[in-house]
Amino acid sequence: MASDVRAAASDRVRRARQKARRDTRMSYLLLAPYLILLLMFGLFPIAYAFGLSFFDTIEMVFWGFTNYQFVFDDFRVPASVVNVLAFVAIWVTLTMIGVAMLSLMLDSINRKTANTLRTIYFLPGAVTSSAIVVLWLFVLDPSVSPFQPVLHTLGWGTRADVISGIGLAGVFAIMAYFSASGGWIVVFGGALSSLPTEVMEAARIDGANRFQLATRIKLPMIWRSLVLMGILSFAGGLQLFVEPQLMGLAGPQFAQNDWSLNQMAFQYAFRMGDFGASAALSTLLVGASIVIALVIVFATKFYKID
């Protein structure tokens, strides 16, 4: 009797285990295409670049940290670090203040007008990558610019005047802000409109005016999301490439081929054929991004894992 029960029980356990194994296999089957891509374009390239960064890729011999040494000794690298940090500082500030201010202002006016304005702010998001630079090279050229009167008032007669007047970091920040901020304004429009109305009502009854409502109640409620936007912009900004790379479209005197870090990594691989140095600099850049990502995933609760 007892052994029968035990046999039946162990049979059940075995069947359950079999089923679990089958389920796991099925889950991995569903995941397979994605896991292959994750391996090919997430993990492997990073590992490969990391490995490559320790080799003299021309002779294919291991030489330790020589590539890193080479990158740090290149006088253009510290200069591009300063450039990129200046760009990121301006861009992140512009984005945080601009998006917060416009979102809060839109939330305080009537809904229909706000929606129309939000759409207008959002549409430049369609202008991306090379098209942003081409468009802004026109806009910054006083001979054709739609802002011609403004540029002339500021005493800028040529594109070179405008660019040196604003500064390259500022020019790139304006280009990036023009395209990327509208999407965030739409997102924060949604977030603000879903804030609990009781809190707003209570504050209004207590005599808060619209300005106090915006700065004391709404702003603290969206603050965490604003910070997330700031961090994501910071991480993206470190990788700046397209804007400086395409300045040369305006003519050789505007070319900025080693302005940002990613451009330097590109220069090493494509102008000098030195894949090892390129891999070393890329590894450092990817490393910085991954550290930021780890902080967001583990130190904040922005994204749900379970």
């Binding site: 891509l37 202002m105 006016i109 305006a250």
Partner: protein
């Protein structure tokens, strides 16, 4: 007299709000408006007339012919290439993202948390950070400068997996799933018979974001593709400008690509995204902060 009309209250706070919003309308709106008007104007009109002077049909037609016929209809090749990259990349990303997001949301298995964490890290890491490593890898595999290389690389879309995962975590009908399970349906049948029919909104959302990323991909395409017959539109646009010097204000040459042609090419890059944006603004709202806690 003055008592009869409602007193005109000039509230300085409201004035600042509307002035700022109006300023922003100019900043965001004017360059875009200018771009679309400039496409209809001639080179001399751009340089001598007021910035918003309208063009005419003749100049537009001439610009269009100059642009499309230039270099043996090169821009059409690039447009077709862009379509190939977009269709291939979006399909691949859907094939990879939808089942993966479903598996992560609907089942427990060893390694699940690890896959989720890798997905989040890959999603937060800007895709531009991995462009040169991907080039080094594809170069080794002999896949740089091919359609397949760019399509494969753009099919990797961790954000899509995460969106799908969040979607299925909240929308799968637990009761129906459980009873189908009891009736002996296996995991694959659950996916194809119950989850997929529910997945239409998430498929559209993932396709939307994947399209945006692939259509406007410049950096990766620029690095991977060295043959100008394989360029996509964003890379083609810059090749057009640098090949003609149209933006450099130098003494003119006899290349038929001038400012109006460049404007028109830029419109070709921008217009499809613009149309999709207008049709699907709400997608952005639901997608961009999806899963992030409010406030």
């Amino acid at each position: 007299m003055s008592t009869r009309t409602a007193p005109m209250r000039i509230n300085p706070g409201r004035f600042v709000v509307f002035a700022t919003l109006a300023f922003a309308v100019c900043f965001y709106g004017i360059p875009l408006l200018w771009l679309f008007i400039a496409g209809t104007r001639s080179e001399s009109s751009l340089l001598t007339q007021s910035p918003f002077a309208l063009g005419d049909w003749d100049s537009f037609a001439r610009t269009w012919t100059n642009l499309t016929t230039y270099n043996n209809f090169q821009i059409l090749t690039w447009t077709v290439n862009s379509l190939i990259y977009v269709v291939g990349g979006v399909l691949l990303s859907l094939i990879a993202c939808i089942p993966a997001g479903y598996a992560l949301a609907a089942s427990e298995f060893p390694g699940r948390r690890l896959v989720l964490i890798f997905t989040l890290i890959a999603m937060i890491t800007p895709s531009t950070a991995v462009v040169l490593p991907i080039f080094l890898e594809l170069n080794m595999l002999g896949l740089s400068n091919t359609y397949a290389g760019l399509i494969l690389a753009s099919g990797f879309f961790p954000f899509g997996v995460y969106l799908t995962y969040v979607y299925f975590s909240t929308s799968l009908p637990k009761g129906v799933m459980d009873s189908a399970r009891v009736d002996g349906a296996n995991r694959f049948q659950l996916f194809s018979r119950i989850a997929l029919p529910l997945a239409r909104p998430i498929i559209a959302l993932v396709a939307f974001f994947s399209f945006l990323g692939i259509w406007s991909n410049y950096f990766l395409a620029f690095v991977l593709l060295s043959d100008d017959k394989l360029y996509n539109l964003p890379v083609g646009l810059t090749a057009l400008v640098s090949g003609s010097g149209a933006l450099s204000n130098l003494p003119s040459n006899d290349v038929p690509i001038k400012k109006p042609e460049v404007v028109l090419a830029a419109i070709l890059v921008v217009l499809p995204v613009l149309l999709i944006f207008m049709a699907a603004q709400r997608f952005v709202r639901s997608g961009m902060l999806s899963g992030a806690e409010k406030g």
